[in-house]
């Protein structure tokens, strides 16, 4: 109980800080955009799904910390977050299964496109990284929900 | 407890006519004496016919086994009396405290 009380007080205090609210409001879209950049840049340079997912989730959590858990729940309902986590894993493993069905080993992306293995490689990495990114972002958000909501939700 | 005192009064020392009476005991002793004499006699006969071939010389002595038996019993009983002085305790010795 005391956990959620202190959380409530925290949000009330946050509302009294307009600078923080406005800066955050302007800033968070860029955080999310940067996450997508890292996600897609991962094909060519440093970056990838894991880091992107963390950054994306950080944006969401920042939003929740300043505007309250309820506000985030409107944007990303816990059930949807849960489903996203599941879908992310499924995307990742699904690619693996698809490669196996295509006749290759697990995650042998070349098998995704029988005509152009190179194209298969690109597609495979893209999908797998997307799966990882979605999963990480969703799980981080879910963990935040879990700790922020314990006591109030239960 | 299925105890009856049908034979009641004479129960203590068995003065009556049962096999557990003192008179029966005396008869038993007389009978035993007779039997002992009989086997001694037989032992003597064996001696006469040199029919004894024990492993030890002592076995061939006249009345060796009889003496051994009687002396052993005396020794054992006396030993038992001495042992009793040494080891006897109350019936509930181990149950106490």
């Amino acid at each position: 109980m005391s956990d959620s009380d202190s959380m409530q007080r925290w949000h009330l205090r946050m509302r009294e800080k307009p600078v923080l609210r406005i800066v955050a409001k302007r800033f968070i879209p860029f955080v999310l955009l940067f996450a997508l950049y890292v996600q897609f840049h991962g094909d060519y340079g440093p970056g990838g799904g894991f880091q992107a997912g963390v950054i994306f989730a950080a944006g969401l959590i920042l939003y929740a910390m300043i505007f309250g858990r309820e506000a985030l729940e409107k944007v990303a309902p816990p059930r949807a977050v849960e489903i996203a986590a599941a879908l992310g894993v499924l995307l990742y493993t699904g690619v693996g299964v698809a490669t196996m069905l295509g006749g290759g080993n697990f995650l042998a992306y070349g098998a995704l496109d029988s005509h152009d293995p190179m194209h298969g490689q690109h597609l495979g990495i893209l999908l797998v990284e997307a799966g990882v990114g979605i999963t990480v972002a969703a799980v981080m958000t879910a963990v935040y929900f879990c700790y922020a909501g314990r006591g109030a939700g239960e | 407890m299925q105890q009856h005192s049908g034979n009641g009064g004479n129960g203590e020392q068995g003065a009556g006519g049962g096999l557990d009476s003192r008179r029966a005991g005396d008869w038993a002793i007389r009978l035993l004496c007779a039997a002992c004499l009989l086997v001694l006699l037989l032992d003597g006969l064996l001696h006469l016919f040199h029919a004894k071939h024990g492993h030890f010389a002592a076995e061939n002595w006249f009345g060796f086994y009889g003496a051994a038996g009687a002396l052993s019993i005396c020794g054992i009983v006396l030993g038992g009396r001495w042992l009793r002085r040494l080891v006897m305790r109350d019936e509930d010795y181990y149950e106490r405290d």
Binding site: A86, G96, V97, M100, G110, E154 | -
Partner: protein
């Protein structure tokens, strides 16, 4: 057939998110149980394929071994895979429970999803031939385990999960640091490759440090004394099925990992000859055996008692390892299976009790044997197994340990094993005495536990009896696996 090694991991890994999407409790349960059984089937098929003696290799993504991730199945890890998947297949059907430390009904699907994830992680640790992949799977299994424990209804469950998380993370970090050192020294993460490259650099202090970090890190996951402190709370506040599964598999997989690293990667001569690991592990093992058993004697809750008994039993396994000989290793490996069966069966019996009474306190067991004869017969047999009575699987393990101690010229250690069995006798006796010789409490339950729990209990207990007599599938394989490991095939 060729994809079996990856299916072993991929199947539960795919099934877990499906459980989340499916959500309907009944459907999820049936689905998850089917998946667990399929995993057992795959593991048995892999064991069958590994029996002739070679190793099955599977390259993930089609990349050849040192570059890509390789799954590699030989006797030792096929054995562990069978133990983990069999325990999963037997324990999962009893579900998250209804009373006591049970899972709230509307979150049951999470239980099944985490359970499958945990299985996937544990099997992944065993199957992979890539040491970084080991770390990943170790974390997957640990994260799933934290979730499973946190699912327990009481507040202590969350706290236990949190402290397990803290300690597990420390352990994981240590493992990661160790892996980092190894990578720095050799430039490879493939275990077979490591084994080939390590001898050249094994005099370097970085390799010593790598091994030290790995040993201590795994030691935390393995609950080696004195790093066992997360274990009692984690096992006693988790839902019953979780206790049964984790107690019988999680520490065993960590043990396997330590064995694999010591014998398969670093090499017997280096670990036991040059570094003298035995000198470190032997006293820890002895302490674990005695402290665990003594602490178990003084517990007032059956689940805690069993948890402390696990600390003691882990001591036996470490003891087997510490000799660095084939016999000792056989004893340790065979104890993986034997203790998994015995302890799994005992925790399931606790699940039976909790299902009927809602409590596992010793004081609530009074006279229960009259109401629940089958459950307590199982506890009696399992208890005999913990003591190591002949005819139970526990005896087989102890026999090898005593034999190993004697042939290592340490009769006093053999004596210590027997002595700690005596202590085991005391804590088992405490349970049986309460259940058999005390008068029942007023609120005693109506009758025997539901068959849904009772049957898995007896499957495990029955198996522990069976493998106490017919040992070719446990000791036979463990012996062959120990030989394979000592001969150096990673």
């Amino acid at each position: 057939m060729t994809h079996l090694p990856v299916l072993q991991i991929a199947l539960p890994l795919i099934a877990a998110p499906l459980c989340v999407l499916l959500r309907h409790a009944r459907a999820v349960q049936i689905f998850a149980v089917l998946v667990a059984w399929a995993c057992l089937g795959i593991a048995l098929a892999l064991l069958g394929a590994a029996l002739p003696g070679g190793a099955i290799s599977y390259e993930l993504g089609g990349w050849p071994a040192p570059l890509g991730i390789e799954y590699r199945v030989d006797l030792a890890n096929a054995f562990v895979l069978v133990v983990v998947s069999a325990l999963g297949a037997v324990v999962l059907p009893i579900g998250p429970g209804r009373r006591g430390h049970a899972v709230p009904p509307r979150r049951e699907y999470l239980f099944y999803a985490s359970f499958l994830l945990c299985m996937a992680g544990l099997m992944g640790v065993a199957i992979t031939g890539d040491i970084f992949n080991v770390f990943v799977f170790l974390e997957i299994s640990s994260l799933a385990a934290y979730t499973l424990i946190a699912l327990g209804r009481q507040r202590q469950a969350l706290r236990a999960a949190f402290s397990y998380l803290m300690m597990g993370t420390i352990g994981g970090t240590f493992v990661l640091i160790g892996i980092g050192f190894l990578y720095q020294m050799t430039g490879t993460l493939n275990m077979a490759d490591l084994q080939r490259l390590l001898p050249a650099v094994q005099q370097s202090r970085s390799v010593h440090a790598a091994f030290a970090f790995l040993t201590v890190g795994i030691g935390i996951k393995l609950a080696v004394f004195p790093l066992h402190q997360w274990l009692p709370n984690a096992y006693s506040f988790a839902p019953p099925a979780v206790s049964a599964f984790l107690a019988s598999t999680a520490t065993k997989v960590a043990y396997y990992l330590l064995v694999r690293l010591a014998f398969g990667v670093f090499g017997t001569a280096y670990v036991f000859g040059a570094l003298g690991l035995g000198a470190l592990l032997l006293p820890l093992a002895l302490l674990a055996m005695f402290v665990g058993a003594l602490a178990a004697i003084y517990q007032s809750d059956l689940k805690r008692l069993l948890a402390y008994s696990s600390v003691s039993q882990i001591g036996y396994m470490i003891l087997g390892l510490s000799f660095g000989t084939a016999t000792g290793l056989t004893g340790g490996l065979v104890h993986i299976a034997n203790h998994a069966l015995t302890k799994g069966g005992l925790f399931l019996a606790v699940a039976c009790i909790v299902a009927q009474t809602g409590s596992s306190a010793l004081s609530d067991l009074r006279g229960l044997s009259r109401r629940m004869p089958w459950t307590f017969a199982a506890i009696a047999i399992g208890g005999l197994g913990l003591i190591g009575a002949p005819g139970t699987a526990g005896f087989v393990s102890k026999w090898y340990l005593v034999l190993a101690a004697l042939s290592a010229g340490r009769p006093e250690v053999a004596f210590a094993v027997l002595l700690s069995s005596l202590l085991a006798g005391i804590y088992v006796w405490r349970v049986l005495e309460a259940a058999w010789f005390r008068d029942p409490v007023q609120s005693a339950p109506r009758g025997e536990a539901p068959l849904r729990i009772l049957i898995p209990t007896w499957v495990l207990i029955g198996a522990s009896l069976y493998f106490g007599v017919f040992t070719e599938w446990t000791a036979g394989i463990a012996e062959a696996a120990a030989r394979q490991l000592l001969e150096g095939a990673p």
